[in-house]
């Protein structure tokens, strides 16, 4: 498989651990990523809040760059980027006059050929059968809460991906890797997104609720496919713990981390050792199954009674 790759600013900056892990595991799955030559920022929230034209033009330039090299598919692993790219693509496809004027603005002809994929969609394109066949270390010792956040599924008419209230695509991937997943309530709630700098308290409040709910439903880790979600849930987790006086100690893995671990990569090769909250230390640790009665089983979650009456109160 050979496709264009739009890393976006985060993956070349503070989320370079995400790029490290997706390059490692996609390489092992024979996916060739061709980074778009001289890509520019998609404009993110700032452009769509402050200048509608820029919010179309910046992503459009990148779409045109990919098309000019003859690519029909492009991976954008950051959901903010992929949503902006998809939104621009949709608006250009629906409005010929806009397509012409934006082509002039960005100095490249836009043909609207390049499809944009998020990382989950790329794994779906690779196929669950191929993933299953490639598993060297089944993830049976992980019980994951798959967290989608906002922009993987919203706005649905733009991203046209999975069910926007009850997505399941990441769970299917985790299950193909031999991992367990939990049903929980906060999979599409917001983590505070880009408010990290401007309003930290918002991020602490929202992310605390997400971590708490995941824990209450028996998860021992979170799996995300978004650099911003990772920043808020991982990098800010020590601040959340300090602010609320609790200990979450919840490792936050990128989707490509868990795929990579199942493919047999050492955590260090995936950049897991660079997270703020320590995750699995060595690949070998995943092979040792946990004792049947772990701490989670001993202390049933507060609201577990509503889910499984038999196990809630022993």
């Amino acid at each position: 498989m050979n496709l264009a790759y739009y890393p976006g600013c985060a993956l070349h900056g503070s989320s370079n651990d995400y790029e490290q892990s997706l390059r490692a595991c996609l390489g092992a799955l024979d996916v060739q990523l061709n980074e778009i030559d001289d890509w520019i920022c998609c404009g993110a929230t700032a452009a769509h809040s402050l200048n509608q034209k820029l919010a179309v033009a910046l992503p459009a330039r990148n779409l045109a760059l990919a098309e000019s090299k003859g690519f029909h598919e492009m991976l954008a692993p950051c959901p903010m980027c992929s949503m902006q790219l998809l939104k621009a693509r949709k608006e250009l496809a629906e409005n010929e006059a806009l397509r012409r004027s934006v082509s002039e603005i960005v100095e490249l002809e836009l043909r609207g050929e390049a499809k944009v994929l998020n990382l989950i969609q790329l794994f779906e394109a690779i196929g669950m059968d191929r993933l299953k066949a490639a598993v060297k270390v089944p993830l049976s010792s992980l019980t994951a809460a798959c967290y989608y956040g906002c922009l993987l599924t919203r706005p649905p008419e733009v991203v046209e991906f999975d069910d926007f209230e009850q997505p399941r695509s990441m769970e299917k991937i985790l299950e193909s890797l031999g991992g367990k997943t939990v049903d929980w309530n906060y999979r599409t709630e917001c983590c505070g997104a880009g408010m990290t700098m401007a309003s930290e308290q918002t991020v602490l409040d929202l992310s605390h609720k997400i971590l708490t709910n995941a824990q209450q439903h028996g998860a021992d880790c979170l799996v995300v496919a978004c650099p911003m979600c990772h920043v808020n849930l991982d990098m800010k987790q020590p601040n959340i713990e300090q602010h609320y006086g609790v200990k979450h100690a919840m490792p936050i893995y990128y989707l490509s981390d868990v795929v990579g671990l199942a493919l047999g990569f050492e955590p260090e090769a995936l950049g897991v050792n660079r997270h703020f909250v320590p995750g699995v230390g060595r690949s070998a640790d995943l092979r040792v199954s946990k004792p049947a009665a772990g701490p989670k089983a001993d202390a049933p979650a507060k609201d577990a009674g509503t889910r499984a009456g038999a196990t809630a109160k022993a």
Binding site: C9, A10, H12, G13, S14, S15, N16, D17, D38, W39, I40, C41, G43, A44, T45, A46, A47, H48, S49, L50, N51, Q52, K53, L54, A57, L58, R61, I105, V106, E107, C150, L151, R154, P155, P156, F164, T188, E189, C190, G192, A193, G194, M195, M197, A198, S199, E200, T202, L206, M235, R274, H275, F276
Partner: protein, 192 residues
């Protein structure tokens, strides 16, 4: 009833054109506010803000706190049975209230951050995180004079460095001239 007749200023048309949505389409079911993760802390949630606009009480809407708590998660717009882009309305209200200078320094941070972000990619083609943080901290300090906010997050820098989690010099696009031209063309007759 035609609610437009009571609107005495230009705020509603401005919101509608910024957000590409129609204020009068809202029939006040409250689904947006019910699903809003920030509603509990808002003086006026999306339903009420839209109602204020429908009633022409635009000054109240522009001085509300609600839109400044919005995290743009899009849940409201996604669930609206009338396809009103509530999140877009929040964006528009922030922009208009910022322009009219009726905001507090804390509220201004959201817009100042976005402005610093755009200025940064205009210069570099790609985001330079360190530069952005520096610039954002400086402008918010000049507007609010909060030393605590200026120094907050400083402890994060060595932690990120230890993890090699940022690009020290920051990446730049090679063809920054084309980026500058794109910006210049888009800034033409833009609302800002």
């Amino acid at each position: 009833m035609n609610v437009e007749t009571v609107v005495s200023d230009s705020v509603v048309p401005q919101v509608e054109s910024l957000a590409h949505t129609r204020i009068r389409d809202c029939y006040q079911c409250g689904k947006c506010t019910a699903g809003c993760p920030m509603a509990a802390g808002m003086d006026a949630g999306p339903t009420r803000l839209i109602r204020l606009l429908q009633l022409g009480q635009t000054e109240k809407a522009l001085r509300a706190q609600g839109m400044w708590q919005c995290v743009s998660c899009q849940t409201c717009s996604t669930r609206c049975p009338k396809s009103v882009d509530c999140a877009g309305i929040m964006d528009a209200l922030r922009q208009l209230s910022f322009e009219r200078g009726v905001t507090t320094p804390e509220q201004q941070r959201t817009v100042l951050f976005q402005k610093a972000f755009l200025a940064n990619i205009r210069r570099n083609g790609r985001l330079n995180e360190l530069e952005l943080i520096g610039e954002f901290k400086l402008t918010t300090f000049l507007s609010g004079r909060s030393v605590a906010f200026l120094l907050k997050d400083a402890a994060l820098a060595p932690e990120l460095m230890k993890r090699k989690k940022f690009h020290l010099l920051g990446e730049k696009a090679h063809d920054r001239a084309v980026v500058a031209r794109i910006f210049a063309r888009c800034m033409d007759n833009s609302p800002l």
